[in-house]
Amino acid sequence: MSRKTLVILLLVVLVLSAVWALTAYQRARKTQELLTALAERDDAAATEAMAQLRHRGPKVGLRLVGYLTSENERVRWRAAVLCAEVGAKQSEVVDGLVRLLVDPVPAVQRAAALACGALQLEEAEQPLIALVSNKEQTPSSRAFAAEALGSLRSEDAVEPLTTLLRERPPVPPKEPEAAVAEAKPTAPAAPPPPPDDLWQARWQAAMALGEIGTAKCVEVLAESVRADLEPRIDVRMAAAYALADALANPDARKALGTGVDALLQAMSDEAGDVRVAAAISLARTYPPKDKVPQVETTLREHLDDDHYWVREAVKLAMAQLKISRTG
């Protein structure tokens, strides 16, 4: 190679290095600006910054460690969310996130729980269990913790999730018959039921139990589809869907009969959404032989259900289970 060629090559390398260095420098500066924007009062502006930071990948994670311990709560929860979005699983990040699970600010706790679940951090299992079990915590924090435990598929979480799922308000009594009501015109009106702030946490707990999928989970979920026990339609519906998820696990097959019975019972629920969930779950759960006639009969009975989606779900289930319409 001649000297001239060498010089040219050297120059090219120098130029490229300079360009790269300049780009890296600008990028680093921009990243710093975006990180600073995490402190914005305006959530929309901060969201824009987070969206741009997301594209910088897991490398940003290490730079977020310091922000996880910021005095500004907005910075802490945004940093936690960003860790999950960029997939940062460095040990310093993990430690930081786990510490945030006991942050005094509920918004930060929630973000940390979400991040731990998204990143599937097993180190966070116990703190999450503690969060889920703590009745002093806000319902939404417990819901996020339940969700994260579901992602971790933690069997240790079954008990606390069961406890959470059983923190139900009492089922309100049915309205008296019209004749009885007319006979007692001066009877005081029934008091309104107390607000059920915990329903979303129970909802998440049901889904988490479905993801964990043990026999115990099936038993607990079977309980939660009952309208005489669980007052909230959304939770019963989630429990019905979760039963199918749970029964898909081999560990849960021994509770198959219990699960199918619960789904069959759920097919007579007053709420259409619960019946839909039950029908779809039956479609995914191949019943034991002794339950097949019952399943067939129940599904056929609901071919003319009042609810459109129940009818559609039943048709799908019958097709899936190869049940004929006429018997």
Binding site: R41, D42, A51, R110, L114, A238, D245, A313
Partner: protein, 873 residues
């Protein structure tokens, strides 16, 4: 490489590419379905992974569109588990596609995310797609106060829909955001870094947000704005309170909430030093309806009818109108009378709104001498429009001002009843068309009760009033028929005539009763004649023809004549027979009417019927038939229509030979009826030949009453003779030899001999119609005649036009006598064709025609042409 091999390789590569594209397209088509299947029935981790992929591709909404409930629910659960900002944003954008229960769960998820969801929700609120924006509002409201700091910067967003979204959210968040909004409203100027546009937008968003809070927004306004030191802010506060508490809206706030604004508004009205504030307070009180009435707003507003500022006065009046309390009527009228400046319109509208209870107060105002007050009062009474208003309005029909009368009459159009018929009838003769048309319509709407008054108006002597009355009666229709039929026998001529017109306009419903009158010979003839006239006007041929036809042959002459005219009006071709038969009527007047009607009759087989009539009846009847027949000839039609297109008429049927004989005999018979002789002279002009000239010539003497008609007839005959000669080729020879026809000579002699200007004109008209026939004779006469006749001659040459051009130019070239030459030169500009004008251009100054002669000739030429046009009609 060999070409064949290269070609094969190329084909293989192309096939591979196409196959890949097909497979890829097929995969993409089914990819979405596959993903939906996984979401429906996959394991939880599969569902989450699939939803994550959909979010990455920004296709979550598309995947959920029209999907079963379970797919939607699973997707919502997966998004809750993913929890990323982008996933939450796409879930927001998909809410409008979800079933209601699933959408509610999705919103609950977003609410649970609380601060983490604000960014995506605000991003969705700024989206161009209204469906995406719709999904953001509820979760933002549920999250509550935390969203305020993120939405405040959007209050001056460029896009209106973003500001609307902010208003919707702030309106539902309520009191927590009020301090920020109040702070914005309290500012009256932009900040240093703020543009005026942005300042105004921000202010507007803040105001609308407070308004959207409804009753919740009342207290912040009362606490912070209504007592602000800035007048503009206080005025705005009054306006805002009025808008919030407005009870006229579709869904107003409850009255007990609305009543909270009463005291602050009344305080502002009664004690604020700024009139803009008092005005806004008054207007705001107006919207409170019952709340305002019961809360004591009316007395305060009444007292402010005396406010020194007219704007406040007007606003108070407007508010009183909206409140509608009858107690305000008197003070409003009093203000109208004594202190109305700047508030007239508002007072009028207020009185209109108060309605009927205001009438007793308004009626005295109708009599005030001030025009503006009378106008306003009349307008108010007119709009109130209850039966109580009718009589007062009728009283205004006599007002001196036309605007007042118009207002009253317009209102009475729909309100009038029997009580005011006399006033309405009297106003049919109003000078203003608006008024009398409106009165006409009002009377028509009153109906049968107005009929007697209208019948009287028919004979009032005022033709316009009678016309209007007739139209009103026609509009009333059937119920007026009997009275109208009775009016046909009124001794008043005008009443009869107008009654006939009205019955004609009524049409079929009037036929039976009118025929009954026509047939009732106990009734006076004039009445039956009027009945005939009415029947002709009805146009109901089927029912009416028989009666008219019979009557035209049987009853008194007056009735017959009317029946004949009615038959013509019916325009039924069956009328030909009775019309022709009437030529033999016992009395001459009936015959004359029939003859004149037949001259313009064109229906049915008239020619055949007339030819038959030539052979029957007495001589007078046959002569009359001949006259009509002559009128029907082509010559007559051509003379009436114009002078062109003779060739196309060559095939026309000529009248029977005896026609001319009969006509000539009629002309020559001094004992014949005058109208028959005159019509016969005219008819001879249409069908006569040279033989007819013998009987016409004696008439061409001054003093003869038929001289003018005879001159025209001679001209028509002369022209017809000339045209026939042209067709045979002889006319050119005659012209070459300067020989005029006998008709031309007769007319020229008449021109020279008569001193009667009208007769001279008739002769001139006749000569001008004869083309080049008389030209040389006229030119020769120029040499002999005096200047008085010369003027006429050059005028006739001018009226003849181009056919006279060649001869005139020739004559000018050959004539030696300078005087005669001069007169021929005068004819040239009057002839006015290209040749003549060209010669004039080449003449020297001393050879130009005398302008005075030309002017004199031009005047006469105009008269000739006008007379020709008149006779053609």
């Amino acid at each position: 490489m060999q070409p064949e091999v290269r070609r094969q390789i190329v084909w293989i590569v192309m096939t591979a590419i196409i196959a890949s594209l097909v497979v890829f397209a097929s995969y993409r088509r089914h990819e979405m379905d596959q993903m939906r299947k996984i979401i429906a029935a996959g394991r939880p981790e599969e569902r989450i992974a699939t939803v994550r992929r959909l979010v990455a591709k920004e296709k979550l909404a598309e995947a959920l569109q029209d999907q079963p409930r379970w797919v939607q629910d699973h997707a919502v659960e997966a998004v809750a588990e993913i929890g990323s900002q982008e996933a939450l944003f796409q879930l927001t954008g998909a809410i409008y596609l979800l079933d209601d229960p699933v959408a509610a769960r999705a919103k609950a998820v977003l609410t649970r995310f609380d601060l983490m969801a604000i960014g995506p929700l605000v991003k969705a609120l700024k989206d161009k797609d209204a469906n995406v924006r719709a999904g953001a509002a509820d979760p933002l409201v549920s999250i509550g106060e935390s969203v305020i700091s993120s939405l405040l910067p959007l209050m001056d967003a460029w896009d209106q829909y973003v500001r609307d979204g902010v208003v919707a959210v702030f309106g539902r968040i309520g009191l927590p955001v009020a301090p920020d909004l109040i702070a914005q409203i309290s500012r009256t100027e932009p900040l240093a870094e703020e543009t005026p546009q942005r300042f105004l937008w921000k202010r507007d968003t803040a105001v609308r947000s407070i308004l959207a809070m409804k009753a919740v927004g009342i207290q912040p306004v009362i606490d912070n704005l209504i007592t602000h030191k800035e007048e503009d802010v206080r005025a705005l506060a009054c306006q805002m309170l009025g808008q919030i508490a407005d009870q006229t809206l579709d869904s107003p706030i409850p009255p007990e909430e609305a009543s909270r604004v009463l005291e602050p508004l009344l305080t502002r009205l009664n004690s604020d030093p700024a009139w803009t504030v008092r005005r806004k307070a008054a207007l705001a009180l107006g919207g409170l309806m019952d709340v305002g009435r019961l809360g004591g707003a009316v007395p305060a507003l009444i007292s402010h009818l005396k406010d020194p500022r007219p704007e406040v006065k007007a606003a108070s009046a407007e508010a009183l109108g909206r409140l509608g309390d009858p107690a305000a009527a008197g003070p409003l009228v009093n203000t109208l009378l004594t202190n109305r400046t700047g508030a007239v319109r508002e007072i009028v509208v207020a009185l209109e709104r108060i309605g009927r209870p205001a009438l007793p107060a308004l009626v005295p105002a109708l009599a005030t001498p001030e025009l503006e007050v009378r106008k306003a009062a009349t307008e108010a009474v007119a709009v109130i429009g209850t039966p109580d208003a009718v009589v007062p309005l009728a009283g205004m029909l006599k007002d001196s001002d036309v605007t007042v009368r118009r207002l009253a009459s317009d209102a009475l159009r729909s309100l009038a009843d029997a009580r005011v018929v006399p006033q309405l009838v009297a106003s049919l003769s109003d000078p203003d068309w608006h008024v009398y048309y409106a009165c006409r319509d009002a009377l028509a709407n009153v109906g049968p009760a107005a009929v007697p008054g209208l019948i009287q108006a028919l004979g009032s002597g005022n033709s316009r009033a009678a016309h209007m009355a007739e139209q009103a009666l026609a509009k009333i229709g059937g119920p007026a028929v009997n009275a109208l039929v009775a009016a046909l026998v009124s001794p008043n001529v005008a009443t009869r005539q107008w009654a006939a017109v009205a019955l004609g306009d009524i049409g079929e419903p009037a036929v039976e009763a009118t025929i009954a009158l026509l047939n009732d010979t106990t009734k006076p003839a004039y009445g039956r004649a009027a009945a005939a006239d009415a029947l002709g006007r009805t146009g109901v041929k089927k029912k009416v023809f028989e009666s008219l036809s019979r009557v035209s042959a049987t009853q008194e002459p007056e009735v017959r004549k009317a029946a004949l005219q009615a038959l013509v009006r019916l325009a039924d071709e069956r009328s030909t027979q009775p019309l022709v038969a009437a030529l033999e009527a016992p009395t001459q007047d009936v015959r004359s009417v029939a003859m004149h009607l037949l001259m313009n009759w064109r229906l049915g087989d008239l020619r055949k019927t007339l030819e038959a009539a030539l052979k029957r009846g007495d001589l007078n009847a046959r002569r009359r038939a001949a006259i009509v027949l002559a009128q029907q000839t082509i010559s007559a039609a051509t003379n009436i229509v114009g002078e062109s297109g003779l060739e196309m008429l060559e095939k026309a049927v000529k009248p029977p030979a005896e026609t001319e004989t009969l006509l000539a005999a009629a002309v020559a018979d001094p004992k014949e009826q005058a109208d028959v002789r005159k019509a016969a002279v005219q008819a001879l002009g249409y069908v006569g030949t040279e033989r007819a000239l013998e009987v016409l010539k004696p008439l061409l003497v001054p003093g003869n009453p038929l001289a003018t008609e005879a001159a025209r007839a001679v001209a028509h005959i002369g022209r017809r003779i000339t045209e026939e000669l042209y067709r045979s080729g002889e006319q050119k020879a005659l012209v070459r030899h300067r020989q005029a026809s006998e008709p031309a000579r007769m007319l020229l002699d008449l021109l020279k001999s008569t001193k009667d200007d009208a007769l001279r004109l008739s002769a001139a008209v006749g000569l001008s119609l004869m083309n080049d026939d008389p030209v040389w004779a006229l030119l020769d006469e120029l040499a002999k005649a005096d200047d008085e006749i010369r003027v006429w001659i050059v005028a006739i040459l001018g009226a003849i036009g181009k056919p006279a051009s060649d001869a005139s130019l020739d004559a000018r070239g050959t004539i030696k006598d300078p005087k005669v030459k001069e007169w021929v030169t005068v004819a040239l500009p009057l002839i006015g064709d290209a040749q003549a004008l060209d010669l004039l251009d080449h003449l020297g100054e001393d050879e130009q025609p005398n302008p005075a002669y030309v002017e004199a000739g031009a005047k006469i030429k105009e008269r000739i042409l006008a007379a020709r046009a008149g006779s053609a009609q």
